[in-house]
Amino acid sequence: MIPLSLPAASEATRPYVTRLRVDPTTAIDEADAILVVEDEEGPSFSGLHGLLTLEGVCADALEGDVVLVQPDIGRAERLLRRGSPHNTLLVTERCDQLCVMCSQPPKKTHVDRFAFFEQACLLAEPNIVIGITGGEPTLYKDDLFGLIERVGLARPDIEFHILTNAQHFEASDIDRLRQDIFRRVSWGIPLYSHEPARHDEIVGKAGAFDRLQSSFHALLLAGARIELRTVLIQDNIDDLPQLARLVTSRLCFIESWSIMQLEKTGFARNRWVGLFADHKLSFEPVATALDYVLLHGKAVHLFNFPRCTVPAEYRALAPASISDWKRKFAPACATCREQDQCCGFFEWHPDEHANAWISPL
């Protein structure tokens, strides 16, 4: 695993955002901190907020990283890692849904870090996609929109991908969302079933399906870009073919559909046996759905589907989707020749399951 949070010693007293520079010639912003020494204690950087020493990672691996330094707890969080395609900002841990398989169960309290995130985005490497997740980011819709608008204006090269349950979009948001900057925003929105009752049950919120429809309507009128997401569990795998019909008709305006395999963490960790739907054993509903949406020209992907568990003809739809910092391969994967194209497994996925499940290519 690539560590995202590092022990840090700092001269500052209050939290701050800085960009680490190993090569002093690349320092162009006053928020850059330049490497001054690297010894047994780790690399030390000097910047506007004084000296900063980090542990556990060599200086070269930190070049260009944007970090949030928190002197009070002695840590530095790597908010944006240079060269990584998987940079995600967690803007809140509160959520108003309680999805049965949630990988990041919500908390009651909110720590407002929007100002730090905005600074981080402004310091990001050119042309990156910044992920925003939660909790539920649109619980702080005004802060969120403000961040996107200001960063978008200052940095026309940056795009955003925002995970949201879409329970909070209103007709009154449409004009704002029609601004050009929101063309660079893709909204990842979960929909688990074409049956309202089943969707509501899975997300743990009565009326969620209907509320989602009215958000979809607002997003359609705003011309928003939507990535629809469906996590597979035993309760909804047989709904996929009907969901595919919905995707090509009423939801025909979505940009792409992601069918996602379960991540064994959060709530899914203890509920695995009752949730995990083994697509390798019953690929038919998945295949029917894929055939249907592909026939109708919609983009569709299989995320977190190890390649060897997918029939050969559909493997091109299963990219290496798991973020680099939390991806691993099981011992049984060692002989596989297609690892570089495969999502592998989440770091916390039990090897016993993976070993028994896969068949190296």
Binding site: T248, L251, L290, L294, G297, Y314, A316
Partner: protein, 466 residues
């Protein structure tokens, strides 16, 4: 109040119901009666609403999603990024059905002069896009490799570029061959079938030389470098397997069947080509059915009739095609233009031929003073099937298009009742044929449809039955 945005068409297997966004199903006679008689059951309503064939007018989301579906069928011509250039009108062949008009090899004053070339290079410099496609037409453009090179060199700045040289491959000079070695340069040529057919139609005694050159290009660059199309005389069509073999044996798997066009010089010598006869349509259908059989028998190779695939994809996958002969609206002089040897600008290659044949002057301007002319605006006011009375009643309207120049070429006017036009008859035939195949149970047909739609596997069904 409820909305049922369906139109109907009888096909061999029953009644096809297609909604305004182009989603469709095959309806039982009973269901058709209930729809027409406004006598839908609750079960009907639920089932129809799944694909947007039925919704309540109060359901604003359904209504707007439907509007989005309709709008996604419309082409939005973007910035000018496709130029069809005619560096010379001279040609080293004189085919009996020459489509493009040509003059003899030694004639003077039929190539771009320095001023015209300069104006074209200026135009390229001012294009606002990052993407460019340039097609070199003629005449025979390979007679002027220097002009082709000048244009290609000027396109250095574009992120995406593609150059297609339409050549008869009769003479392969070293200079021309050197141009072909560039990876973004492609060739389009004519191959009318077996040696005798091609010799009879086109190259006569020079046929051996053409075939040698074709072979050399294929060997050197592979089949992806080349697209070839056969021109078919419907009165005297070639043997289908011989035609297919002449392509398949060269690993050319996409065959664009083209009937002799009632344009250019062909108009004089082949007057029967004004209307494509039933013979042509029968030949076309036999050809498509034959490649389906061959695809089924040999799964290593997927043959296709190019236009059939284009129409098929338009049914299922709106917005995925930039084929300018079939789109709606089909505005002229916007995203692509033809620039002739003398700098005159035409909306399409066909309109260049019509003008040169003195049938109607369809030039819309020139490279020196532009082409935002009154004539262009007048034509573009009619460049859609959207408001045509006959098209509005036609179930295939969402998939179909409009071709003003074709109407002008055949009838000298654009207000002929739509169903009386060759464009309409041709597309009704092809869409009928496709839907008959969509609802066929023949695994060979289903296999080819899936391949032509570029699907990873054959779906359990292509169309729903209700």
């Amino acid at each position: 109040m409820s909305v049922v945005p369906l139109r109907f068409r009888a096909i061999n297997q029953g009644t096809l119901a297609i909604n305004d966004c182009g989603r469709f199903f095959l309806a039982s006679d009973n269901l058709v009666e209930r729809i027409i008689g406004d006598d839908l059951t609750q079960g009907d309503r639920t089932e129809l609403s799944r694909d947007g064939h039925f919704f309540s007018q109060d359901d604003a989301f359904a209504f707007d999603a439907h509007a989005y579906g309709c709008a996604s069928r419309w082409d939005r011509a973007g910035e000018l990024d496709y130029l069809i250039l005619v560096p010379t009108l001279r040609c080293n062949l004189s085919c009996s059905y020459c489509q493009v008009s040509r003059v003899g090899l030694g004639r003077k004053g039929f190539d771009w002069d320095a001023e015209t070339l300069g104006a074209i290079l200026n135009l390229i410099d001012t294009l606002p896009t990052q993407r460019i496609k340039i097609e070199f037409q003629g005449g025979e453009p390979s007679l002027r490799p220097d002009l082709i090179t000048a244009v290609i060199e000027r396109c250095e700045r574009f992120e995406h570029k593609q150059f297609v040289i339409c050549t008869n491959l009769q003479d392969l000079s070293d200079d021309f061959f050197a141009i072909l070695t560039q990876p973004d340069v492609y060739i389009s040529t004519s191959l009318d079938g077996d040696v005798d057919t091609h010799a009879h139609n086109r190259t006569g005694a020079g046929t051996g030389q053409f075939l040698d050159n074709l072979e050399r290009v294929l060997t050197e660059f592979g089949p992806d470098k080349i697209s070839a199309l056969p021109t078919i005389d419907p009165q005297n069509p070639p043997a289908i397997d011989a035609l297919i073999n002449s392509y398949a044996s060269r690993a050319l798997h996409s065959i664009f069947l083209r009937p002799i066009n009632y344009q250019g010089f062909a108009r004089k010598q082949h007057s029967s080509a004004r209307e494509q006869s039933t013979e042509w349509r029968q030949f076309y259908e036999r050809f498509v059915r034959r490649i389906i059989e061959r695809n089924w028998a040999d799964r290593e190779v997927v043959l296709e009739e190019t236009y059939f695939s284009i129409c098929l994809r338009r049914i299922f996958q709106p917005g995925h095609d930039r084929h300018v002969d079939l789109r709606n609206p089909n505005p002229i002089g916007v995203d692509y233009v033809v620039i002739d040897y003398d700098g005159t600008v035409y909306p399409t290659d066909e309109s260049r031929m019509l003008t040169r044949s003195r049938i109607i002057d369809l030039s819309i301007g020139d490279i020196f003073s532009g082409w935002d002319s009154e004539k262009r605006q007048l034509l573009n006011a009619h460049a859609t099937n959207q408001f045509d009375e006959s098209c509005r009643r036609c179930a295939y309207q969402p998939f179909c298009g409009r071709d003003l120049v074709d109407d002008l070429a055949r009838y000298g006017r654009i207000d002929v009742e739509r169903t009386q036009t060759e464009f309409c008859r041709r597309h009704l035939h092809i869409f009928d044929l496709i839907f008959e195949m969509i609802y066929s149970d023949d695994p060979a047909i289903q296999y080819s449809l899936a391949q032509w739609l570029r699907l990873p596997s054959v779906p359990a069904r292509f169309g729903i039955r209700l």
